[in-house]
């Protein structure tokens, strides 16, 4: 496989995942906003911006932190690179550059995803914003499904590897921001707003039902952290992403004979992850833990690029 193709496939996986995550975040935030009294609603949109590292860029637009402007900024704003439309554009450009490595189904799914946004300028009110982001999530699932029906070769594995690396980063950021920034002053831990915030997290990673199955004691932050950090059965948990990266690197090594620094780093991470206990993480500092995880994830990303000679 061409080095350029490998890089484009990997980034295709990352961008689709990033678009999907942003769509989920917007969906959860619309819900949270609708449920809460107005100051909390505003805080919800502020937190959505900080999860996606978009606070400063948004502040520069001079708009108020409320549903319409923030939702538009995160979905359809062509002028800043952190919007879903721009992620989709990047995903589509990558897909187009490597069309021959994709099946027709997979390409069509990406193209349809992009067409969903082409020529739209406003996400509209809450209901139509929900429609829009649900469309993104549905088409992204369609793409994932198409990828699963491709030959199990390097192309498929690289797309999935990009997605797994991206997913790990997204979940870590989501947890970090929500846990430390969002409890509005004067609100009690365990109060209504707090509860809603935690529900938002679970919704963003589609884990509301999973939580109910696993924990019988109602919504508790420590449990949510346990679920999202340590439970490998949950596809968006850090443990699951870490495992998936190791498996994908193994499969790639088997097919290409390429093995090296990225494999060593990923295996080291999984060994540490298996010893991780969530209550210890909370005691010694969740924020520091997540920060280290995000940094490590970025280093792994760079090692992958070297190992597969991305150009």
């Amino acid at each position: 496989m061409l080095s350029r193709t490998a890089a484009a496939l990997y980034w295709l996986g990352r961008y689709v995942e990033r678009a999907d995550f942003t769509a989920r975040l917007v969906e959860a935030t619309v819900r949270l906003d609708a449920l809460s009294a107005s100051p909390a609603g505003e805080a919800a949109w502020a937190s959505a911006l900080s999860v996606t590292y978009n606070e400063e860029a948004f502040a520069a637009t001079g708009q108020s932190v409320s549903q319409q402007p923030v939702a538009r900024f995160l979905t359809l704003d062509m002028t800043h690179p952190g919007s879903i439309i721009r992620y989709l554009e990047q995903a589509r450009n990558n897909a187009r550059a490597v069309r021959t490595a994709l099946t027709r189904e997979a390409w069509t799914a990406i193209n349809r995803l992009w067409l969903l946004f082409a020529h739209r300028t406003s996400p509209g009110g809450a209901a139509s914003t929900l429609n829009l982001v649900e469309g993104v999530m549905a088409e992204a699932r369609g793409f994932e499904g198409a990828v699963h029906r491709m030959m199990r070769n390097e192309a498929t594995l690289l797309i999935q590897l990009g997605a797994a690396i991206e997913r790990a980063d997204n979940t870590a950021r989501l947890l970090d921001v929500k846990y430390h920034l969002l409890l509005p002053e004067g609100e009690q831990v365990g109060g209504v707003v707090d509860r809603d915030q935690w529900t938002t997290i679970l919704q963003t990673v589609s884990a509301v039902t999973a939580y109910r199955w696993l924990y019988s004691e109602g919504l508790k932050p420590a449990n949510v952290i346990d679920l999202l950090v340590c439970h490998a059965e949950l596809p968006r948990s850090l443990a699951s992403c870490v495992e998936e990266v190791v498996e994908l690197l193994n499969a790639l090594a088997k097919r290409t004979g390429l093995q090296g620094e990225a494999d060593r780093m990923a295996r080291g991470r999984i060994a540490r992850m298996q010893k991780t206990r969530s209550h210890e993480v909370i005691v010694s500092g969740l924020h520091e833990y997540l920060e280290a995880f995000i940094r490590e994830n970025a280093m792994l990303d760079a090692a992958i690029a070297r190992q597969f000679r991305f150009i």
Binding site: L2, S3, T100, I311
Partner: protein, 490 residues
């Protein structure tokens, strides 16, 4: 022109009530299928094209950076014996083009014998002295030719243009057929249509057949594209995909010690055959344009060393130059020893004073073209041009006559086509694709029919708003069964 109605591929010189005998089934299909249904199917086809991203970029048009070429649902049909005659003429012509290129960059017999003026070739901007003396692997130059034809009557086919550089459009031939099979399956029960989807296999075989010696291994073949912003990118990816080979950009290739490699995740892999969709000018900055970033430095040197086959060979532009075109009947005669089976359109070379005089006197009747123009740019269609346009061309012709040729305005054949007000005849041309390998010359039974969507217009180029149709080539009759005829009434 004038009162006489153009020949219609389906209706002949008659009208909708009296189709050519072989096409009764098609006229019945048209009559029986409600217009709204035809419209619906056409829209379904276009929606599919949009979804698949079968798009075409129009330069300088920001909004239309991705346009689909309009698709028309009524096919154009060739009878089997019409196709036989055409194919023979195409093979003869492409063999002559190959012989001509071999000669011009080698011995130059044709110039020594005075068949065409030496300076017309040697001083032609399309002539590439850089490749003189190089013989491509297996002596094949024009591996893929697209020969543009027009028709004016039942037996009157004319060659309008030879494309021996990087002819495009073959993906439309294949996608249009896919759309027709899906949307109008009943037509394939009425007509026995030759399949076109073997094109990719034929192209792959052609590519392999011209590989330099690979010591018995399977040659590594690639398609080289300028990138996904190129207007024909869809086609490049389509071809690589259906041949199961890599689609590469210049940045993926590196030349080391006169050997071309592609850079893969497992390191370098030697490349034997490159179907390049990059023009000569941009192919190798060390040899052609030094300012080009598209090219692969050293690729020509590797080619000269015989280590890689380039499809089509660099330097081919001289064979499809419009000034050379007018000599094509002599060229065919010179190399094949017999008269050209496919005639040229009568052509006045404005570089010749007498021809120029004639053209200047008949500007409102003729079509004037730049010898190095393409895509419908830089041309004058006399009968439909305004006074101002004619005068502008008169001045240009007087200033630089050698840059122009002129041809009579032909009554191009028409095919019934969907318009906003129902079916109406629209002018068409036709581009069949001819493949030359070390094992012979083959014509794919089909091609690209382009249709001028504006009433009366003769300009079919997609960059000028033309559309496309599927082109059926019928298989030979089975035991006297009449093609395409169901019950004839009356």
């Amino acid at each position: 022109m004038g009162a006489r109605r153009a020949f219609d591929e389906i209706w002949g010189h008659g009208g909708p009530d009296k189709p050519r005998a072989e096409f009764t089934a098609l006229s019945e299909w048209i009559a029986e299928t409600p217009q709204s249904e035809l419209h619906r199917r056409q829209q379904a086809a276009e929606a599919t094209f949009r979804q698949l991203g079968i798009t075409f970029a129009v330069y300088g048009d920001s909004d239309a950076s991705e346009r689909i070429i309009p698709f028309d649902i009524v096919p154009r049909i060739f009878l089997h014996d019409e196709w036989q005659r055409l194919s023979e003429g195409l093979v003869q012509r492409v063999e002559a083009i190959n012989a001509f290129l071999e000669d011009i960059y080698g011995e130059r017999r044709i110039l020594k014998e005075g068949v065409l003026p030496a300076e017309l070739v040697l001083r032609n901007p399309q002539f590439r002295p850089e490749v003189a003396g190089i013989r491509p692997p297996h002596g094949i130059w024009a591996h893929i030719c697209g020969i543009d034809l027009v028709r004016t009557g039942p037996d009157e086919f004319w060659v309008l243009e030879d494309n021996a550089r990087t002819p495009s459009g073959v993906s439309y031939m294949l996608e249009n057929r896919e759309a027709m099979i899906r949307l109008c399956p009943e037509l394939f029960r009425s007509f026995r249509v030759a399949a076109v989807d073997s094109y990719s296999d034929m192209l792959r075989e052609t590519m392999r057949s011209v590989a330099p010696d690979t010591r018995g291994g399977v040659p590594v073949c690639v398609v080289l594209t300028p990138g996904h912003f190129n207007s024909a990118y869809y086609e490049h990816s389509f071809l690589a995909d259906t041949m199961g080979i890599e689609l590469v950009e210049a940045a993926d290739l590196v030349v080391d010690d006169d050997v071309v490699y592609m850079q893969t995740i497992a390191g370098r892999v030697k490349v034997d055959v490159i179907y390049r969709r990059i023009d000569d000018d941009f192919l190798d900055p060390l040899v052609f344009r030094p300012d080009s970033l598209l090219g692969v430095p050293g690729i020509i040197s590797a080619y000269r060393a015989g280590n890689v086959a380039l499809i089509n060979a660099p330097g081919n532009g001289i064979a499809d130059d419009k000034a050379i075109y007018s000599y094509m009947p002599d060229i065919v005669k010179f190399y094949s020893g017999s008269a050209a089976k496919l005639p040229n359109v009568e052509t006045w070379r404005c570089r010749e004073p007498q021809a120029l005089k004639y053209v200047l006197e008949h500007l409102d009747e003729v079509v004037v073209k730049l010898v190095d123009g393409s895509g419908g740019y830089g041309m004058l269609v006399g009968p439909t041009a305004s006074k101002a346009e004619i005068e502008a061309f008169r001045a240009a012709l007087k200033a630089e006559p050698h840059r122009y040729i002129a041809q009579p305005t032909l009554a191009l054949s028409t095919v019934p086509t969907m318009t906003e007000t129902g079916l109406a005849p629209r002018h068409v041309d036709f581009r069949p694709f001819v493949l030359s390998g070390s094992d012979g010359v083959r014509v794919v039974p089909g091609g690209l029919t382009r249709v001028a969507l504006k009433e009366g217009s003769l300009v079919v180029n997609s960059s000028q708003g033309g559309g496309t149709k599927d082109s059926f080539v019928l298989l030979p009759d089975r035991q006297g069964q009449k093609q395409g005829q169901t019950q004839v009434q009356g």
